[in-house]
Amino acid sequence: MARELRNAAKGSGEDVAAHHGLVKMIPQWERGNRAPRERYRLLYLKIFKDALGDMSHSMGLATDLAIRLAEVRSRAGSLPGSGEIRALEASALAQPRKAMTPAQIRALAAEAITQLHKVADRIAELSALLADDAAGEGKP
């Protein structure tokens, strides 16, 4: 804490006691034996305000990530399976189309299934990353 106070003081041009003086005073402030002077109270405020600012920024990023994750998972969950895509392809090929040739329809269905596999791969990658996160959080 003494180091934090000195750093905060350096940043704001305040003059504070020497390190050993702070190390002596801080436990007295913490025990309530002595009240810190105003300049020290202001330095404490600055230190905790900065720490809270960093924390709220990190929390904002985590929330944003969680929302995006939920959104993408929901979209992935509503995609048809490869069987359904094959069924759509078969129905589309059942009669001649003006808009697309059979080769184009087959290519489109094949591309959709390829992309579907890539979706599955990315979801597996994401799950592994999030599982690592969860395991990391459980560690002491």
Binding site: L61, L65, R68, L69, V72, R75, A76, L79, P80, I85, L88, E89, S91, A92, Q95, R97, A99, M100, I105, L108, A109, E111, A112, Q115, L116, K118, V119, R122, I123, E125, L126, L129, L130, D132, D133
Partner: protein, 45 residues
């Protein structure tokens, strides 16, 4: 932001792009079939 967050964001962006590709292809296939169901102009009156 940590390296892990960056990695998650990268995978999410790729996932988003692949999902969009599948959605677009399926939309085209469904539109082809919807043409079958739409009432035609040439039907008997």
């Amino acid at each position: 932001m940590t390296a892990r967050d960056d990695q998650i964001r990268r995978v999410l962006a790729e996932l988003d792009a692949h999902i969009a590709e599948v959605e677009a292809s399926v939309t085209v296939l469904k539109a082809l079939l919807a043409d079958d169901e739409a009432p035609g102009d040439e039907g008997p009156e």
